[in-house]
């Protein structure tokens, strides 16, 4: 079996948002939407600080679809549009999506974005990967783990572009992969573990 995954080293992440824009470009994500973004944990603004001066801390947390082993979104999808694919990725069949947004409510990571209106793309021609399908109004979208790239055995664009090499992509079912080793050797953080969603995206430090 194959279980594709991403590990993010939060010690290395500098919050630069390169992964977020790499994703936007690669996947032709419209204005006002993001499949991937770096949040500043616990803060309502980018580069915010927790605590009281001068005893403050900050954690940058890149956040996108967690490609859960037990995805809450899949369970609530009435049409089977959201599914777990053979490579362990959570995907959306846009043709089957009826825009009910049950998945959006179910996802505890707020990873999904919905085309409430006609999507606005700047520039207004098709940018990004040639094989990526543009989504229309009324359709849900989110990180696909760069399925077009990963199908071609390329790493996801967020991993490819990370200037500080904070991201590692690989197959968790391959015990010799770098990502499998990281999972065993480093201190691992799973977001909202108590939800039982079993994310395949995890954070190491």
């Amino acid at each position: 079996m194959t279980k594709l995954a991403i590990a993010i080293n939060t010690d290395r992440c500098i919050g630069c948002q390169t992964c977020a824009f790499a994703c936007k470009m690669q996947n032709s994500v419209p204005q006002g939407m993001a499949w991937n973004r770096v949040i500043t944990e616990g803060c309502d603004h980018e580069d915010g600080s927790l605590g009281t001066f001068p005893n403050v801390t900050r954690t940058y947390l890149p956040l996108a679809c967690q490609h859960c082993e037990n995805p809450a979104c899949e369970k609530v999808c009435p049409t089977g549009a959201t599914y777990k694919d053979e490579k362990g990725r959570v995907e959306i069949d846009y043709d089957k999506c009826i825009g009910c947004r049950m998945c959006m409510a179910a996802c505890p990571y707020n990873a999904r974005v919905f085309n409430w209106a006609e999507p606005v793309r700047k520039p207004d021609f098709k940018y990004g990967d040639k094989e990526v399908v543009e989504r229309e109004r009324g359709v849900m979208e989110k990180c696909t783990l760069c399925k077009e790239r990963t199908n071609r055995d390329e790493q996801p664009m967020c991993v490819e572009c990370c200037p500080v090499r904070a991201r590692v992509f690989g197959d968790l079912d391959d015990p010799d992969s770098e990502i499998s080793k990281l999972k065993h050797e480093k201190s691992v953080r799973i977001l909202l573990e108590d939800k039982g969603t079993r994310p395949q995206v995890f954070y190491v430090s």
Partner: protein, 810 residues
Amino acid sequence: MNETKRNSLANATMSRRGFVKAAAITGAVGAASGSMFSTSSWLAPTQALAEEQSEEKTCYLCHNFHCLGGCGLKATVRDGRLAKIEPRPMKDDRYRKICLRGINEVQHVYAADRLQTPLRRVGERGEGKFEVISWDEAVKEIADNVKAVQEKYGAGSLYVKKSVEASLGQGFSFVDVFLNAEGGGLTGLDRGIANGCEPALQTVNGNSVNSIWEMKHASTIINIGDNLAESGIIWTQALVDAREAGAKIITFDPRLSPTAAKSDQWVPVKPAEDVAVILGMAQHIIENKWYDEDYMKNYTSYPFLVDRETGELVGEKMTGTNRIGKKNATIVHSMVWDEASGTAVPYDQEGAVPAIEGEFTLDGRSVATEFTLLKEKLEEYTLEWAAERSGIDAQTIAQIADDYANRGPATINCAEGGPDKYANADVLGHAIAIIASLTGNYGKLGASVGFYSAGGGSLSGTLTAWPLPEWAKLSENKMRLYEVASKPNDIHAAITFGDAFTLRAANANATIDWIKSLDFFAIIDIYHSSAVDYADIVLPACSKFENTEEYKNVRVSQNHVYIAQKCIDPLFESKTDLEIERLILAEWGYDQYLPKNYDELNRKQLSNLKGNLEGITYENLIANDCMLPLKNGDNPVEDQVGYHEPIFKTPTKRLELYYEDLVDEGQAFPSYETCDEAYDGNPLKETYPLVFMQGKTRYRIHAFYSSSEWFQENYSPCVTMHPSDAEARGIKNGDDVLVFNDRGDFVCRAVLDEGIRPGVLFMAETTYSKYYKKGFLQNVTNSNLVERCYKMKFGPQILYNDVLVDVKKA
């Protein structure tokens, strides 16, 4: 985990709402900017074609230099449009680099702010009213006006400047030298600390000569005035690697910058008081004898003798190249006190045993070693004094001194931000040289000092220059850019490539008055930047992705040579820099001396290459997908560049710490001074109690990318302030606020955060003024000049951060 959920949800929800709001603002601005064509209408013919045949090609080029990155990019062009940008593969994977700025070009190249046609001003200067004219009309009008001014006032009355990105795009300029124009000389930018450290440390324009990749060998790294994670973003990998390898990272900054947040220790020093901390550290290092006496004796000037009365170095006066590179200058063949013979002997005399400390009588004169003088000088800079000035407690300063002196090789990354932009920056630079030389933390693997945001030391190579006639040169430099607002000058016309004025000059209102006083001003720019509104004629330049030929600029970057492959045709009516220079100079008949096209220029630049460029030719560069490593550039660079032995390029080959040329200024050794305006105790603080400082954001290179409609969703002009300062003024997070002082004011959004020292406002420089509700940040900044800096290598520096303001709800 519940906590995480709440936080991440709140956060993401907030950002989504923020997106919607920002998008609405974008729409309004787009309409107001008066673009004649949207990208879609302009590109419509191509689009029709696209549906029938979708063709992709891959193009390689080297991206921006102004961020000091210069990344090798791989661009995918689909049906004649820039569709995707990613890092190109490199043999040394550390150079496979891109950041958000490179990626965002997919939108930025097509941004609504692009200048589309030549324009002629029809309103008042600054009003932003233009009419569309033809290239022929525009070029003729530039020539007619420039000729009239030069005939009346002389050749040097024309000022020509390529602002940094434009000049770095090509590497040089033709218009300025062929028109014998004033070129502006020193710019007063980014060399504040360098003024103080370069004479001793032989940095290169403040840049470290050791590679940033060497940081992994350091045990302690101190960042002063550097926010690497938002300026030279791609280089941050080296800092992150170093931390992972066990280095302790200590970052001085009044604000918890992203770099400070990724450090082991944040030192929230009061603005401009970094120098107090360093002087306190120096004193503490001496008091605890944490210095390296062998290093000081053998590799520094500390044993050299100084005449107590005159402050002059003792020794034979000679003529030679001095430590700041001035030729035919007086240099001293210094003497030391030889403990073996009990006499003064030349420092380089075989077998001499120099005293590191002591006072002696020589020919009736009282002399002392430099180290003795330094100890006396530093006595007053106790930890308690340093703590009082800096707001950093004594124990912390002692700990930093301990980490720096005793933990193993230590590196100081003292950069061009923060304390570089206060009146005491040179003293700070000198003080840094002092602690490095006391502890032997210079000229060893992992132990260096300097600016690292350009990657530190790298392999260098010089391309073959395009031959110019002998008469094609700049006029004698009479006007430095930082003096335009404060000193009378004889400039009556200006041509700038990019915004050379409003971005750079502090106290912008005075600068704008000067621009308005010019007889003529033409600007060549890609975007409708702030300065465009003041120009009489505007010419649209194209981006580095656009070209009429297959290849464009040749550049040396990151130990490689790159040539820029054409990605797309010039958008709208824009032209390349070379085409524009040829058109302008044709009005004088000088185009005959210029390369006919980039092909001719590139082939010349890539001919007969020597040194690290030997073997590189036009043909093999193209054949290797537009990139070749410099000689040995395929190997790790950190072993090949920099000082790994403590032998230096000063006249004595030692670190020369005593600046006898500054005896009259009281700065032969660093002597604490407050900054010009932003210091505690300045009576002006009663009126303007807050320090206003600028720094970088990841969404800009200076003002470049103001036009990015992708970045506009995440970022707009804002000032970060401590909640206590906000509360005292009834300001809430997200409020529009007026930042003001006697020089001027502007309005932007307030961001409240605990990660900034109370009493300090932080704002990222800079954004086109039209994106502010009122004014822009340089309206409040300080254009005073420090007189003693005229004696220094880089001259006076603009005091961007040496600024007091107050703030209120707008």
